[in-house]
């Protein structure tokens, strides 16, 4: 579907859309409790060493300045025990510098401008040592592999004697999320109780983190994040500003706000680690894969081990009897990396799906056909059946809509004036997870419904998802439903990561609605002559804000009537959904997709443009087609950036990020993005969760960079294995 299609006409609009475009949705930095001071961060200008002196005299003399907080006067926090080798960064705890642009002080003043100016006057002296941020040679620098995965079959031997083989190395640079909303915290202490408005993807995880740091009871911390202006993983770990604002507020006895500036933001959180991957593929002459060898290394920091799974995709995507994977990390003197949209999977898929394309050319087999010949009907790693997998149908419908059959196999054969045209495709997959979650659903006498969960909505449309499920679950118009979220004091929810909020919180809401039906039946059953006496929960049908006994429409009673009859203002149910782990473990559970891309390349001047994308997705039940469409086109946009424009540039002499702003870090602009068509192939899946819905947020990105690079090869005959594919590389 494309944006104006009829398919989307009746799908609910974003319930928070109006507030957002009207400026009424209050983001973190817009909270302003009485008496609040403004904090402005000072960041280190070296990457490794120690602070030998910190001179705040000049800064403190400035009008409006209240205090400068650094490791010298910050309250000591409790840093939880961590495994050996891990020293998570806690801000302002010591004179040590672990990465460049590390926050080392905060200036508190009556106004933002005063704080910012004074921050520029804080003088720091360091003793500095040589830092390493060089992403070349990471295989050589790598730590021993932490968890060795046993080989499947005999990959090395088979590869050595295979009929057809390819071997290639792929590199991906550091990339940053650069969400619209900056990392920010407003911290308010009232007695021993702390309330923080914090940019976070998980209010309760964050609450636990701050409570532990201050050694206070978790119930004394409240974390509020009603609107999150994009995060993509950047706020999966608490940002340093959270503790800094909380410490500062404690010291000055006033609420404190700390907001990262755009320039500062690149080290407020981690980033997609830089990676190098080596792939070897072997097959017979018909393209049947006989061996996959996939070795990957990506960077971590000097103080922590961060590892994301790049090579897993090589074990799960294709049926291949002999597979070897290994993955290591190399320490660099940088901030610790962090999950960024489709972490691991998109990096791994860029390598595997490019390599498969290389093999297809070697074999002179259509790349789509090659994938079908190696289709995994069952999970090749575990042998388990898939709970559902309509990938073949994605291939079929996607290729048909795209017109894949018109593709010329040989490169440089399709032209449009000066433009060389290329078609490329790739496959994506993402594990469909689910976590336990809770939701409270309240039906009020005036016919409105309140849904509550601590979950956040970082932009994918969680508000709308929850409202939709409750509206459907209770049979009420969506306008009557309010979803309150983003508050750690609401019913428990996992953090928003890994595309699992719909399957987790959505399931809780669905089940809570069912439970509310039985609750209404139970209330009614207490009255004389109630048809719901001794009726099993399974026989109670909820529709149109009413209940009835299954098959007996004459028993229908509206919620409102039951409330009135019993003199109740409302009825609420708090429900915790569990995960059917035993049942799930019998299956392999994932969403899948196929991406088809047309590019046009003007070789003479180094320009590549994506012209057309068809994104076919099989992700179980689609809760809201509009939201789903939006997620999938968002994935494409992200993939265009990863393939063609995005790179965090680091000067290795200083281990310092040199383009930490939106002028230098090129995310795609509208002019880079063509019409994107999405197809949702229906999947009936009773195993994944009671909703039958799998995640969408990451999936849509996974295959895109490879599909684009493959299309560029089809256009030009040039295999570019180092992202992003910018004009300097195209023209070389």
């Amino acid at each position: 579907m494309s944006f104006y299609d009829d398919d989307l006409k009746d799908a609910p609009d974003r319930v928070d859309g109006r507030a957002k475009v009207m400026g009424k949705a209050k983001y973190i930095a817009e909270h302003k409790p009485a008496g609040m001071l403004y904090g402005y961060l000072v960041q280190s200008t070296i990457a490794k060493g120690t602070i030998t002196a910190i001179d705040t005299a000049e800064a403190e003399k400035q009008p409006g300045v209240r205090l400068v907080v650094s490791h010298k006067n910050a309250p000591k926090l409790t840093i939880p025990e961590r495994p050996v080798g891990a020293r998570p960064f806690y801000p302002l705890m010591s004179a040590d510098i672990l990465f460049n642009a590390q926050p080392i002080a905060v200036v508190l003043a009556d106004s933002f401008e005063e704080a910012r100016y004074a921050a520029s006057l804080v003088k720091i002296t360091y003793s500095s040592s040589k830092a390493d941020s060089d992403t070349r040679g990471m295989f050589e620098k790598a730590l021993p592999e932490a968890r060795v995965t046993p080989d499947r079959g005999k990959p090395l031997e088979v590869f050595a004697t295979a009929e057809v083989k390819i071997e290639a190395e792929y590199t991906i640079p550091f990339e940053h999320h650069h969400p619209m909303e900056l990392h920010a915290t407003v911290a308010v202490w009232e007695g021993g109780k702390l309330t923080v408005y914090d940019k976070t993807q998980g209010t309760q995880g964050t609450a636990g983190y701050v409570a532990a740091a201050f050694g206070i009871d978790r119930t004394n911390v409240r974390v509020v994040a009603p609107f999150v202006g994009g995060a993509f993983g950047a706020a999966l770990r608490p940002g340093p500003q959270l503790l800094i604002a909380s410490m500062a507020a404690k010291l000055v006895g006033k609420p404190v706000k700390v907001v990262y500036s755009r320039r500062q933001l690149a080290t407020a959180h981690g980033y997609r680690p830089a990676s190098t991957q080596r792939i070897k593929l072997a097959s017979d002459k018909q393209g049947k894969l006989s061996a996959i060898i996939h070795e990957a290394v990506h960077n971590t920091s000097s103080h922590e081990i961060f590892s994301e799974g790049l090579v897993g995709i090589s074990r799960s995507l294709y049926a291949c009897p002999n597979v070897k994977t290994s993955q290591t990390v190399a320490r660099l003197d940088m901030q610790t990396p962090l999950w960024m949209r489709a972490p691991g999977a998109v990096s791994g898929a860029f390598a595997l799906e490019s390599a498969l394309d290389e093999l297809a050319y070697k074999l002179k087999i259509d790349p789509l056909e090659l994938r079908i010949r190696n289709y995994a009907e069952t999970d090749p790693e575990s042998g388990k059946p898939f709970s559902s997998k309509e990938l073949k149908e994605c291939y079929r419908q996607g290729s048909e809509k795209f017109g894949w059959s018109k593709r010329k196999i040989e490169p440089r054969m399709m032209k449009d004036g000066r433009w060389l045209i290329g078609y490329g495709m790739a496959t994506g997959t993402w594990f469909a997870g689910q976590s336990p979650a809770s939701a409270r659903v309240t039906f009020r006498a005036n016919g409105t419904v309140l849904v509550e969960s601590a979950a956040t909505d970082i932009g994918p449309g969680t508000y709308t998802m929850g409202a939709t499920i409750a509206a459907q679950g209770l049979g009420v118009p969506i306008e009557r439903v309010t979803f309150a979220l983003g508050d750690s004091e609401l019913p428990p929810s996992p953090g928003q990561g890994g595309s699992t909020i719909t399957s987790s919180v959505g399931t809780a809401i669905k089940e809570a609605c069912e439970k509310l039906g039985t609750e209404f039946a139970a209330v009614d059953a207490k009255t004389d002559g109630s048809p719901f006496k001794d009726v099993a929960a399974a026989d109670i049908v909820v529709e149109n804000a009413s209940i009835m006994v299954k098959g007996k429409p004459e028993t229908k009673k509206s919620f409102a009537d039951i409330l009135t009859a019993n003199n109740l203002p409302q009825l609420a149910v708090l429900h915790r959904s569990t995960v059917a782990t035993a049942e799930r473990s019998k299956y392999s559970i994932a969403s899948h997709g196929a991406q088809f891309v047309e590019v046009a390349v003007d070789e003479e001047i180094g320009v590549a443009r994506v012209r057309r994308v068809v994104q076919a997705t099989a992700a179980g039940k689609i809760i809201n087609p509009k939201g789903a469409h939006s997620q999938e086109i968002g994935g494409v946009v992200w993939g265009v950036g990863m393939a063609l424009t995005e790179v965090t540039e680091v000067d290795d002499r200083y281990a310092r990020i040199m383009n930490p702003n939106l002028a230098g870090y090129h995310v795609p602009v509208n002019a880079d993005i063509p019409e994107i068509e999405t197809i949702f192939v229906p999947e009936e899946d009773k195993i994944v969760n009671p909703l039958g819905a799998k995640g969408l947020g990451e999936l849509g990105l996974v295959g895109i960079p490879a599909a684009i690079a493959n299309a560029i090869f089809n256009a030009t005959g040039k295999r570019l294995r180092d992202l992003p594919i910018t004009p300097d590389k195209l023209i070389a």
Binding site: E604, G606, Y654, M658
Partner: protein, 333 residues
């Protein structure tokens, strides 16, 4: 950002008087100076607001050219009927820059005065001769993908970021400047911006406090066969890796005069004089355009990370000339 005083100039005389004061700086559209202040690169103690001065009109000059007010907005200039029809190369160059929102704020004078975008210049923790004299140039042996291939010196390798200036260079513009004495001085565009030499902090030939009042263009030429080609890292809203303003006059199928200026390659817009001279008297053809491209890059000196710019410039010149030909509707041979 340092605290500063704000003053509004009531007329151009007032502006040059205030502009001459120690620590003062003009603000016009503010799209560059405010950024520089926020990043602590510029720290004026007084901002002299010139945005309300009566220098916004676009009028004909006595010799048949046009005078463009220094405070006319980029958007209004690009879309002005006279500019669109008589100097379309300028329209095209302006519209290739920044974003509509920024062009709505940006003034012509400010555009000419905008400072380089070198990433080290923008990071006050880094050595940079342009920002702090004698501190060294971090780019020359560092990240220099975006740096110069012409005219750079050991003290600075930054490039001028303006698109508008590239077209003005090609069109033989002159800049009218009000000196402190009240006198109006005329500066040839080619002399307006400077190479870095060993004073990279000095980017133009304006003296402290001098005010650009207008930009003048000669009698319209090059309005049929022209192209402004901007090559960049994404389709829009990025500074040029290399940009090319190319135009020529055709008489009986022969090029009677040609203009080629390059952006993104030097500390000032770079005129490809040899290539222009070569084209004079030639017929437009692939081969001649390719030769012009070769001549345009003669003398280019790459740094560790920007050799690609030489190819981009060479091919870009050829392409821009080809586009210019096609634009004019004359059949290529």
């Amino acid at each position: 950002m340092k605290p500063f005083a704000y003053k509004r100039a009531i007329d151009t005389a007032d502006a040059v008087r205030l502009g001459a004061e120690n620590g003062s700086s003009f603000i016009a559209g503010g799209t560059n100076i405010v950024d520089l202040m926020k990043e602590d690169i510029a720290s004026p103690t007084t901002l002299v607001d010139i945005s309300r001065l009566d220098l916004k009109t676009i009028t004909s000059t006595a010799n048949g050219g046009v005078s463009i007010g220094a405070l006319a907005k980029n958007t209004d200039t690009a879309n002005h009927q006279r500019i669109r029809t008589s100097y379309p190369l300028l329209t095209k160059a302006i519209l290739a820059g920044a974003s509509p929102q920024i062009r709505n704020m940006a003034t012509n004078g400010g555009n000419l005065m905008q400072r380089p975008r070198c990433t080290y210049f923008y990071d006050v923790s880094m050595p940079c001769n342009k920002r702090v004299k004698g501190s060294g140039c971090a780019a020359i042996n560092g990240l220099n993908k975006y740096s110069a291939i012409f005219g750079w010196s050991d003290s600075c390798v930054a490039v001028n970021p303006s698109d508008m200036s590239v077209a003005l260079m090609a069109l033989d513009a002159v800049v009218k400047v009000r000196e402190a004495s009240g006198k109006i001085r005329t500066i040839r565009f080619a002399d307006f911006h400077r190479l870095p030499m060993n004073t990279p902090d000095i980017e133009t030939s304006l003296k402290k406090g001098e005010l650009i009042v207008a930009i003048e263009l000669p009698v319209p030429r090059f309005a049929t066969n022209y192209q402004y080609l901007k090559l960049r890292d994404r389709a829009s809203y990025a500074f040029a890796l290399v940009s090319i303003a190319a135009a020529f006059e055709l008489k009986n199928g022969v090029i009677s005069d040609a203009r080629i200026a390059l952006g993104g390659v030097a500390h000032k817009p770079w005129r490809a004089i040899e290539a222009e001279a070569f084209l004079k008297g030639k017929r437009p053809s692939d081969e001649n355009f390719a030769n012009a491209g070769e001549l345009a890059i003669r003398g280019a000196k790459p740094l560790s990370g920007n050799a690609y710019k030489i190819k981009l410039a060479r091919n870009g010149v050829k392409r821009a000339l080809t586009d210019a030909l096609n634009m004019g509707g004359t059949v290529a041979k």
